[in-house]
Amino acid sequence: METKIQLQNGAFSYGEHEVFSGLNLEIAQGEVLSILGPNGCGKTTLLRCLSGALKLKTGNIILNGKDITKFDVIELARNIGFLYQEHAASFPFSVLEVVSMGRTPYLGRFASPSANDKELAEVALSKVGMLHLKDKPYTEISGGERQLILIARTLAQEPQVILFDEPTSHLDFKNQALCLKIINKLADQGISMVMTTHNPNQALLFPNMAAMMNNGKFVAIGKADEVITEDTLNEIYGIDVKIFSVPDPNGKGTLKMVSPWFK
């Protein structure tokens, strides 16, 4: 399948402090890459580099066959969506206004969203199942709903690649499930995604790709069930865990699960 985004021998440092180096990855259309790793291992910085917000110190990022440094801010926004881990709400914009903001890269400098843009924003809202909230102030909905609204805003950008920085970290179980279902659905629609997570079980739900990261290096990258093993988890987190297989309820072989109980 067509490669959407590719990182070649990427390295980044803040001044003297090296965050990561020697990283390679390649994501095809509709693939989901989960990146697992302890706090401070460089996951978020890697995402920021992939989004074009930070420039690599060495190496290249190739988006749709073109070096990412050749894209301007608007082109980047049309191709890459970014869901930040923290969103500090400021003013009580309506949900539809917030989602319409995703149309900004398609608007003229002095324009505001047209009726057509608002329609596209409504389509994005219905994709995440939140159309009924469109007139509510986005400051007066739950954290889970807000996360889905922000996903809708990213979808309104019509990106081919979406980067998620710990998309489920602040969500309750129901909203975690909703969020993961949406990511799965978007993958089926051909959107490529990179997601950082702290939950290996969550990474195992997206079997085609995962990476284990520690101290700015990939310890392993490849198929999720081959990468997430008792050994690699021990290596990056320094704890012993047990991985066991359960029959996939959808009848596609087995699913792997990680349990922290180890005897």
């Binding site: 400021s90 914009f93 002095f110």
Partner: protein, 333 residues
């Protein structure tokens, strides 16, 4: 926005403006006011005294226009800054423009400058103050919000101290009262000439802000998110700072330091039409124009000696802000 609100925002300023022309110690009846105004456009028989015409055309008309422009300008600046800083407690002088302009004016007074030179000095120092703040805040090719705010505090404190120094050395019989009175703010020096200097500067910069109002919504999501949605945040923030600084420096240069307007009017606007800057910026302008014009009318008519407008905006603004604070329980959301 509903039709009713649009009509209110058009009718109220017109009515307040008209009323402002005939109230005052020298009362001129409303019909004569209208005739005098129309006589500038249509040939109408002069049946009024030349004093009445002088008061309307040379004094009250420019003063009312100026009050509205200053009120509108400070309000749109405050609204734009609150959006950009994502903080409802920000006012137009957060980057030090007022403090620096105040020192510029005091310096001009010390050197016995004429009115025009004073105005230029205030304007130039106001701009200089913000340039200093911006340079101080710039690190790694970016200007983080926190750095801007802290740099603004530093620059404002620096110029406030210089201002204190200027007051200390000023002649307490002649110069000091002038400085003090100037700092309290007043529109009583308004003249027709201001309508061709200060007013266009304020209106053009305001139009600039209104043009980019949608992007201001996006910027209110935070720098990172705005960039991910295709906004060049650094140059955009610089543009907002330039527009608001020209507006505020113009306003201060012509009428001294008028506080509170740029802080409270954005809140009133948000309560009235919501946070979308596309609607909020023009609404803030109108509300600010009406507010400052009414306050100025009170300032010049309530007592025999004119009350400095900066005192009145504070006396009215502080309790109003307290009321807002209690009502929203500090939430602002």
């Amino acid at each position: 926005m509903s039709k009713k609100k649009i009509i209110i925002l058009i009718i109220v300023p017109l009515v307040v403006f008209y009323v402002s022309l005939f109230v005052g110690r020298y009362f001129i009846d409303p019909v004569t006011v209208l005739r005098i105004l129309l006589s500038k456009i249509f040939p109408i028989n002069h049946n009024w005294t030349s004093a009445a015409e002088l008061i309307i055309i040379q004094i009250r008309f420019p003063r009312a226009v100026l009050a509205m422009c200053v009120g509108a300008g400070l309000s749109i600046s405050g609204t734009a800054y609150q959006g950009m800083f994502r903080n409802p407690l920000v006012s137009p002088d957060i980057l030090g423009v007022s403090a620096a302009a105040g020192f510029g004016a005091a310096l001009a007074i010390l050197f016995s400058a004429n009115a025009l030179e004073l105005q230029l000095a205030a304007f130039a120092f106001g701009i200089l103050g913000v340039i200093l703040t911006y340079m101080l805040a710039r690190i790694y090719k970016s200007t983080p919000t926190l750095m801007l705010v802290l740099s603004g505090v530093i620059v404002a404190a620096f110029f406030s101290s210089l201002l204190s120094g200027a007051k200390y050395v000023a002649d307490p019989e002649s110069k000091l009262p002038v400085i003090t009175y100037w700092l309290l703010g007043s529109l009583n020096k308004a003249s027709l000439k201001d309508l061709v200097t200060v007013v266009p500067l304020i209106l053009v910069s305001s139009a600039g802000l209104i043009l980019v109002s949608w992007r201001l919504n996006v910027l209110a999501m935070g720098d990172d998110e705005a960039r991910s949605m295709g906004v060049k945040t650094e140059s955009f923030k610089a543009f907002i700072i330039i527009c608001t600084t020209i507006i505020t420096a113009s306003a201060v240069s012509v009428c001294g330091i008028v506080g509170w307007v740029g802080l409270i009017i954005p809140h009133v606007g948000r309560m009235f039409v919501g946070p979308n800057h596309r609607v909020l910026l023009p609404t803030s302008m109108v509300l600010g124009a009406v507010f400052l014009l009414i306050v100025d009318d009170i300032a010049r008519t309530s007592t025999a000696q004119e009350i400095p407008i900066g005192i009145l905006t504070g006396v009215i603004g502080a309790p109003f802000f307290a009321y807002l604070l209690r009502k929203t329980k500090g939430g602002w959301k």
